[in-house]
């Protein structure tokens, strides 16, 4: 029995008893040396990227389970993709139980780090920067986990993405926290995903700070069970620089926290300041669609207590001048299109467009002060967030 227990313990902790450390230094042949280490790594191994500046010409990829890639800090180890000549991202991860920590990517030609079908992944103190600032020619996503169960992003920093800085798509059991998203089109975006916790982040100088979207026509739909809490969402006032055609190209400059479609979303204890279109926006999917599996309405969206500063004072909306004048100089902090179901704690000021039909455009806006019922009970927080095992990896 003792032997069995010991073996079980080894499995349970996935302790890298026989693990090896592969040290990589910058300089001549870094591309080949690093990529070879990523290919030859065995489960449990750690790849250590020494401090320095790595010039890389092609995307990197990792396809071995249970590997850690560790740099010497997000300002110490820099993977520079400015001269990247191939691949759609800087680093692609397709294996499970991977930990990426303490390094940076600069100027990837496409996405920064994409992890696809990579369950239980941790991004810890990762930086992705497009060094020229907001530019439509920058890559789309900085940190991009998709189709994964178990995602923890902690202490990350993403700047300049032409779509979303931190984008979690078609995934489940997600935590994004303690991270900074600055000068992207969307700071943090949770799309077609369930059980996501977005807390203690800073979203600033984006076009929109934090977006919770559910879209039709994707393999995974039915986003919901999302908590957006304790975030600092400030001065998201960068003009939208997304290439037209992408869904975020429709995000209005000055959006703080935006929910589109989705089921069961809680927004509370955030500090919202200087988001000139809408500190909080709750809307149905705006376009026509044919997907029968899809519900375009926001349902069971709960606006808890938040700290609202200046906002809604320079909205990028049709008839802005008249709207602002009608509401006495600034729109109240919560904007709803009137579709689906919204609950707000007493004392929440807002306005509704009172739309009656999804996908019909904004021709029939009948603005009025918001009148939404109070939440019926406690928001069900069960099962929301990344599995505890992921926390344990970065203790």
């Amino acid at each position: 029995m003792i032997r069995i227990t010991a073996a079980a313990l080894l499995l349970a902790t996935s302790a890298p008893v026989f693990a090896e450390t592969h040290n990589i230094a910058p300089g001549e042949g870094a591309q080949e040396r690093l990529q070879e280490a990523l290919i030859l790594a065995e489960p449990g191994d750690e790849i250590v990227l020494e401090a320095g500046h790595y010039v890389l010409t092609d995307g990197l990829s990792l396809d071995v389970d249970n590997v850690t890639m560790r740099g010497a800090g997000m300002d110490g180890t820099v993977l520079d993709f400015t001269t990247q000549a191939g691949s759609g991202e800087g680093l692609l991860v397709t294996s499970d139980n991977v930990t990426l920590r303490d390094f940076a990517l600069e100027n990837p030609q496409g996405d920064g780090i994409k992890s696809k079908g990579a369950d239980n992944i941790v991004y810890y103190r990762i930086r992705v920067t497009w060094t020229n600032g907001p530019d439509a020619g920058n890559g789309a996503y900085g940190i991009y986990p998709v189709e994964s169960t178990g995602v923890l992003i902690d202490g990350a920093k993403v700047t300049g993405a032409s779509d979303a800085g931190i984008y979690v798509g078609q995934s489940n059991l997600i935590t994004v926290r303690n991270s900074i998203a600055e000068a992207n089109v969307a700071g943090i975006e949770i799309e077609n995903s369930r059980n996501a916790l977005v807390e203690h982040n800073i979203a600033t100088r984006n076009t929109g700070g934090i977006l919770i979207f559910d879209l039709p026509g994707l393999p995974v739909m039915g986003g919901g069970n999302v908590i957006v809490a304790n975030n600092l969402v400030v001065a998201n006032d960068t003009a939208n620089f997304a290439p037209p055609g992408n869904i975020v190209a429709g995000v209005r400059r000055g959006t703080g926290i935006m929910v589109m479609a989705n089921e069961a979303v809680l927004i509370e204890n955030n500090i919202l300041q200087h988001n000139p279109t809408a500190p909080i926006m709750v809307v149905a999917y705006t376009q026509q669609f044919e997907d029968e599996r899809y519900n375009p309405l926001p349902r069971e969206v709960v606006i808890g207590a938040n700290n609202y500063g200046v906002g809604g004072d320079d909205p990028q909306l049709d008839g802005a001048e008249m709207l602002v004048a009608a509401f006495g100089g600034a729109l109240p902090p919560v904007m709803w299109d009137g579709l689906g179901s919204l609950y707000t704690v007493p004392g929440t000021a807002g306005w509704s467009m009172n739309l009656t039909e999804q996908g019909a455009g904004l021709d029939n806006v009948q603005p009025s002060p918001l009148s939404a019922p109070a939440p019926a009970g406690e928001f069900n927080r069960e099962g929301i967030g990344a599995p505890a095992e992921l926390d344990a990896r970065i203790l």
Partner: protein, 336 residues
């Protein structure tokens, strides 16, 4: 690194006897190398070819072609199939042939005509007990030896169109990026519907293929102007795009499904907005806008060589202009 390299070294030692004298190669295919768990450092170790330069295939290799091949910067491709003695390939309708363990698929990429032809790389797919393994080998300048290029490489090339390019040999993981479905590595090319009936009949007659597969609708050669524009375009998309753009493929999250058998227009991109294309969308609103190729993201991305925009993401550094023309014709002809 130490342990892994030691493993490689050990495998080289085990085979050392037959190589100590220099660039000689075994006269028969070395089944234990094909099915073993090592990553041979030199292509010669498999014994696929009679000469070190791999110009003379072993008699056990079956050369084959595909009706519509993958386009790779205009490279010529020499394809061989090896099935071990006594093993039999099963069929799966008109789809991928079901190869027995011990199978090897060998593809050499070459540029240049006649005597000027130079081998750049040889990619092998090995069907081992725990699944397929894909390995890239890079030819040396002297054309005498192809060595394992786990991390890939870049090689300056002049394409048949006269373009000077930095040709990319994929790394081992990039092999898998295309050759993966539901996380398993699989061959892409040898689907019954994309192979000549004569070749399939030959394999049946040889006892290597269990039965003649049923093929209701074969892929045409995409350059065969006798075939309809739609069939040619769909054949090209199936071969060049659908390994990622299908459920379970590398680009499944896009919702775009470009397989030959897909008949839902939205899944094929018609009036479908992009999902995660980013700047790759080029400011266009849908993948395919019937009647308007200039408004179709599919054309825009095939007509770019810029990383982050270009599709496919891997395997090409230049634009396949003939294919772009075909896509434009197909979209122009569509009912609006």
């Amino acid at each position: 690194m130490k342990r892994s390299l030691a493993l490689l070294a050990a495998s080289a030692l085990a085979l050392g006897g037959s190589f100590a004298a220099g660039p000689t190669v075994p006269q028969t295919v070395n089944d234990s190398v094909v099915t073993g768990d090592a990553m041979p450092r030199n292509l010669g170790e498999y014994g696929f070819f009679l000469d070190p330069a791999a110009r003379l295939p072993s008699a056990a290799l079956v050369p084959y072609e595909l009706n519509t091949p993958l386009w790779s910067d205009g490279a010529d491709k020499l394809r061989y199939l090896y099935v071990p003695e006594g093993a039999v390939i099963e069929t799966d309708g008109d789809g991928l042939l079901q190869f027995p363990v011990g199978t090897a698929i060998i593809k050499t990429f070459a540029f240049g005509e006649g005597d000027d032809q130079r081998y750049i790389e040889t990619r092998v797919l090995l069907n081992r007990a725990d699944g397929w393994t894909a390995l890239p080998y890079r030819w040396n300048e002297e054309q005498t030896q192809a060595r394992l290029a786990l991390a890939g490489a870049r090689v300056p090339i002049t394409t048949p169109d006269g373009e000077e390019i930095s040709y990319r040999i994929p790394n081992k993981n990039q092999c898998k990026s295309c050759h993966s479905l539901d996380d398993a590595v699989l061959p892409i090319g040898p689907k019954a519907r994309n192979m000549a009936p004569e070749l399939l009949a030959l394999l049946v007659a040889d006892g290597r293929l269990a039965a003649m597969p049923q093929i209701p609708r074969a892929l045409p050669s995409w350059s065969d102007e006798a075939a309809s524009t739609e069939a040619r375009a769909r054949a090209y998309l199936d071969v060049n795009c659908a390994h990622c753009h299908q459920p379970g493929g590398g680009a499944s999250n896009s919702g775009l499904d470009l397989r030959w058998e897909q008949d839902d227009l939205f899944a094929l991109g018609v009036n479908k907005p992009p999902v995660a294309a980013g700047r790759g969308a080029g400011g266009l609103l849908v993948s395919v806008e019937p009647g308007d190729p200039d408004a179709s993201i599919l054309v825009h991305r095939m007509n770019s060589a810029e990383p982050g925009v270009a599709m496919p993401e891997l395997g090409r550094s230049t634009i396949d202009h003939d294919a772009v023309t075909l896509m434009r014709d197909w979209i122009t002809e569509m009912d609006q």
